[in-house]
Amino acid sequence: MVKYIKLLGVFIRASLLTELEYRANFIAQIFLGLLWAVVVWVSVLIFFAHTTTLGGWEYAQVLIVVGMFSLINGLIECMLAPNVKRLIEMVRLGTLDFVLLKPVSSQFMTTLRYTRFNGIGDFSAGVLTIIYAFGQMTYRPSLEAIVQFACVFLMACLTVYSIWVFIATASFWLVKVNNLTELFRSIYDTGRFPITTFQGGVRFFLTYVMPIAFITTFPAQAFLGKLDAATTLTSVAIAAITFIASNRFWNFAIRNYSSASS
């Protein structure tokens, strides 16, 4: 475990050095990220120009969901999206061989190897939004709420990671997975609104089939001290199940992989 945390540090360092090789690109990416975050914020403002609550959530509370959305979106952009792109390339060129030769988990090596910094805009916009939202409220989270939030948030990250591992693994067969990542992103886009905004089948789908609710709404709810113990435990279960399943799927794919021609 310590080895992997150290390795992640080494990977991020190398990635940062790579990004800094292309200065203009680096700055442009961060700027773009910030711009997108503003767009999300404005869309919420437009909603609240017409109403005072959204799915039972007040303006400031919704902002926490929005913050969670941007923050996790930033993490996806930084840590996950670039690796899926690389993996497709490695499968096509056969350089995945080098990964399989290394005495490290191949899933770790491929899914967290490259970090890009274009998500930093989204990420910091998310953090700022959450801080701003708490400024608009008189509510202050108790220690218990903070611990609960930390747990649910960690599970959310693990769940998102596992979903991306599924998408990445599909590239062994599909070679082009752009459509899959786009599909996930458009479903994830619903995560900027609290899950209670949605009704019936859609809500069920976004909670249990593609667990977007566990990624943005529930962590926000935990922060607000309004998440029950059962949902907290469910988030742990969902993270564990998706993680184990994605790892199995990855290993299955690797077993079937026969490297491209020499």
């Binding site: 790579t18 090789e21 292309y22 061989d97 399989l100 005495p103 077993r255 020499s262």
Partner: protein, 326 residues
Amino acid sequence: MSQIHVERLSKHYQVHEKEAGLGGSLRSFFARKYRTVKAVDEVSFDIQAGEMVGFLGPNGAGKTTTLKVLSGLLYPSGGNASVMGHVPHKRETAYLKQFTLVMGQKQQLMWDLPAIETFLVNQAIYEIPKGDYDATLKELDQLLDLGPLLKKQVRKLSLGERMKCELAAAMLHRPKVLFLDEPTIGLDVTMQVRIRDFIAAYNQRHGATIILTSHYMADVTALCERIIVIDKGKLFYDGNFRELIEKIAPYKILKLQLSTHAISEHFTEYGKVESCDGVTVVLHVPRERATDTAAHLLTQFKVNDVTFEDPPVEDIIRQVFEGNRK
């Protein structure tokens, strides 16, 4: 027990065949015809610690496939292999830390960064202690003359410079077994010699076991006493390189420069006359009689110059393959 043990190893692929054109593509979309390709077919051999063995064979003979099975990248379809007591395809950490695979046509160096950054990543991956890392890097620098190359972005290096860095990146963990697949491909002669010297030096210093494949016969001639020849997945020679040459080509090439004219009939009793233009005569003389023949010729004719040569290895290997195909 030998360090590399391969017994009746097979690797078969299912490939689907497609006829040309749209019609063919459509047909193969709905009903694929599969064909089994025997990339490696019941190959057996043993290699002792510290040996340097050359893998020879034409393109598609199964050399790379064999190396990939030994590296654990491919599951064998049949038979078994063991390297340093490990079963390669299990890819145990203990095994992965002890060998390296260098593929001349693929690169692991990070393209946009100086090679030293890839080295640092590998140091972390292989958990190489700082002291060992520094010592190994110093030694590699000395053997390969890396010096300023390490600080230049990989994309700005020449092919030869990049290959030196690739080799170094693959050696940082001091592997005991080296699988080198075409390490000199595309390099000029000077650089080929450089890489060759490095391989020989590494083998001597660390007693590493090396399997080498190369299209350049000179690499194999210079480095390997023993060769394994495979073609179409089948092994058909495993043994001493010199012995093979003596078996396939039991003659030496004798070149004479005469100061007076002579005709080819004068030489038929000494061996096979390859060419004779009056002053230059090329003869194939049986190996064991080569020196006697030369001595005799010197007394019979006015000879300005005489040279002995071994037949070119390329020709010998070609003869081996042609013999095999018949």
